[in-house]
């Protein structure tokens, strides 16, 4: 992550910012110019930092404060209770149910999505006619908002005469209880995420594939590697950073899924994720705790725990991919060294 920053400062050739002002200016003008150079950068970045501090960082930190109090939505701040809210939430089976649902839906959406996106990107990486048309066609679902996607798929997966059950009926299969069964509802919700994001991720991966130098493929082809072999031993390793990036963003987004479970089946239990909470995700539980049960203290505890979970998974992802990359680097180096040795040995 930091690699970009450690690059030599782009402006190293530039004159020092507070250097002499051009031409022969009056001293006060020179001083004004120096002040301009010194202060301007801070002035330019301050709107971001000030606003971000107020609406981004402060609420996040204050969540910790709220989570340590009895705090009612209507009555406001109550007693300080220390870690009591956390203890309650960690012993709450609805909380663990929501974590299970979130992770299950996340895995059901992330894993197939990445494989399909990879395949799609590989297909789009061919020398197609009407390139832009095909790219636009895979991106189409992205412009349908999650709320609209959910309304559409809620209808598609309706248990009485929804599109999917109708099609299953044609093949003589029994209708599936998409909104009542735990696993089936997870698949239905994951399919909404997949539908909207697969093409988008395919385009990101496609961009990475197109950045792979073509002469590598050339030499591999000359060495007799077929297209499949080239895909797995050249394309995939070359686009790994992008792949990791896609996985990390999918994780951050996927673990905060809300709209889809909120609106998937509103008719039972008012949209808290199914009558038996069979598809209640953690953010949905947070929402229920804050605005249905009106317990802001406990809701903040949920937010804080989810926050920690997401950051931990993000870090894990990051270090794992670092390890894999460096391990690979080592084995590559060894292989190169060996090949070089053989080559030299063969010649002498």
């Amino acid at each position: 992550m930091t690699s970009t920053l450690n690059r030599p400062p782009a402006g190293s050739a530039q004159a020092p910012a507070d250097g002499p002002a051009p031409r022969k200016a009056a001293p006060w003008r020179r001083r004004m110019s120096a002040l301009d150079s010194k202060a301007s950068p801070y002035l330019y970045i301050s709107p971001f930092f000030v606003l971000f501090g107020i609406v981004g960082l402060f609420p996040l930190l204050y969540t910790a404060v709220v989570s340590m109090h009895d705090w009612d939505l209507l009555k406001g701040q109550g007693d300080f209770v220390g870690i009591q809210n956390f203890v309650t939430i960690l012993g709450d089976r609805f909380f663990w149910n929501s974590i299970f649902n979130t992770v299950s839906i996340f895995l059901l959406s992330a894993i197939p999505q990445i494989f399909v996106a990879l395949a799609l990107a590989a297909v789009l990486d061919q020398n197609l006619r009407a390139k832009t048309f095909w790219r636009m066609s895979v991106l189409l679902p992205y412009v349908v908002t999650p709320v609209a996607v959910t309304l559409i798929f809620s209808s598609v997966f309706n248990e009485q005469s929804g599109l999917v059950n109708n099609i299953l009926g044609v093949f003589g299969l029994d209708p599936v209880a998409w909104k009542h069964d735990v696993f089936a509802s997870h698949i239905a919700i994951a399919s909404m995420v997949n539908w909207r994001w697969t093409g988008y991720n395919a385009l990101i991966l496609l961009a990475a594939m197109q950045a792979v130098p073509r002469d590598i493929y050339e030499s591999a082809a000359i060495d007799g590697a077929g297209p499949i072999r080239r895909f797995f031993s050249l394309t995939i390793p070359s686009i790994r950073p992008t792949l990791v990036f896609v996985v990390i963003t999918a994780t951050i987004g996927g673990l905060q899924i809300f709209t889809e479970p909120k609106l998937f089946d509103v008719s039972s239990a008012g949209g808290i994720g199914g009558a038996d909470r069979q598809f209640q995700t953690t953010v949905l539980y947070l929402w229920e705790m804050a605005f249905f049960r009106q317990n802001l203290g406990k809701a903040s505890a949920i937010a804080f725990l989810l926050f920690i979970l997401i950051v931990l998974i993000g870090l894990l992802n990051f270090f794992l991919s670092q390890r894999i990359a460096s391990a690979e680097q080592r084995s590559n180096d060894k292989r190169t060294a060996r090949a070089l040795k053989n080559y030299r040995g063969g010649r002498s």
Partner: protein
């Protein structure tokens, strides 16, 4: 994370469509020997994928233009004639036009703010030298990986304290700046503006801000357009936060649409009509700016 952006940034300066053309053609000759164009299988697969993904959308339109009974058909393909009647029902059920107007206002204000502040900060991080620059930039990157949306409860408390709940301002203010925007603009500007140009402007006696306006902004324009597009999309699609701070009488398009889905009896042809109506604006945007959207994603734009 950064690699996607750094790799792709130079590509942004050229025509996005034209640039890959030449190497791609050469590459294919190498990759597949004699054949230079992929065969029918590839087009067949793509067509199947396209039809498969587009069908749910088409199906919604077919049901939206039919009656609730249309939904019972197995694979309906032909739209009926009820769309306008259903649309009228939607307009009765939810304050559609008000919601549309609110969504437009909210998304536009957020977009302008994010683009302006991101360009300013991104330029400073990319091209100006100041104490603490690298540390602050690391901070910006780190916040991108942090789910700040989880601060919604204190944020809600603040908005209520200010008496802003129910007002559009409550939706707008929390997203006036994004760490991603700053990062995106910095990555773009670091490569695209030659330092000599800034130097030249300074030698000519232009102040810092003048230099920013005359050198940085024109150079940043393509990236600003992409950032604007994505910021607009993100603001437009947001559901959780408007649901919390706005009331049903003054909704955004997304929260209004959500209202259609409530109640024990759901007339799906009405719900789907609403979904189709709400999709039309973005569909138009997609047709007009689809190419930019694609090149934006391919330059490493990230989901919001």
């Amino acid at each position: 994370m950064t690699s996607t952006l750094t790799e792709a940034a130079p590509a942004a300066s050229g025509e996005p469509a034209a640039q890959p053309q030449a190497p791609a053609r050469k590459r294919l000759r190498l990759r597949r020997g004699a054949g230079d164009r992929p065969g029918f299988l590839v087009y067949g697969l793509l067509t199947a994928f396209m039809l498969g993904t587009a069908y749910p959308l088409w199906w919604s339109f077919v049901v939206a233009s039919g009656t609730n009974a249309t939904r019972g058909e197995t694979l309906p393909l032909i739209p009926g004639g009820n769309f306008l009647a259903n649309a009228a029902t939607v307009l009765d059920a939810i304050p559609f036009w008000k919601a549309l107007g609110n969504s437009i206002i909210i998304s536009l204000v957020i977009t302008v703010s994010v683009v302006v502040f991101s360009t300013l900060a991104g330029y400073a991080f990319a091209k100006l030298r100041f104490r603490g620059r690298d540390g602050l930039m690391i901070f910006v990157i780190a916040t991108m990986a942090i789910p700040t949306q989880l601060g919604i409860i204190p944020l809600f408390m603040v908005m209520r304290q200010l008496g802003w709940t129910g007002e559009l301002g409550a939706v707008i203010v929390p997203t006036l700046v994004t760490a991603f925007g700053v990062f995106f603009m910095r990555q773009y500007l670091v490569d695209v503006i030659p330092d000599e140009l800034i130097e030249a402007a300074r030698v000519d006696g232009a102040g810092q801000f003048r230099t920013f306006l005359t050198v940085a902004v024109p150079a940043a324009r393509p990236a600003m357009a992409i950032l604007a597009l994505f910021t607009f999309m993100t603001a437009w699609t947001d559901y959780l936060w408007p649901l919390i701070v706005l009331n049903p009488g003054n909704p955004t398009l997304q929260t209004a649409l959500g209202q259609l889905q409530s109640g024990y009896y759901i007339d799906y042809s009405i719900v789907l009509t609403g979904a189709v109506m709400a999709t039309i604006p973005l569909l138009v945007l997609f047709i007009v700016a689809g190419k930019q959207l694609i090149s934006g994603i391919m330059q490493g734009a990230v989901k919001g």
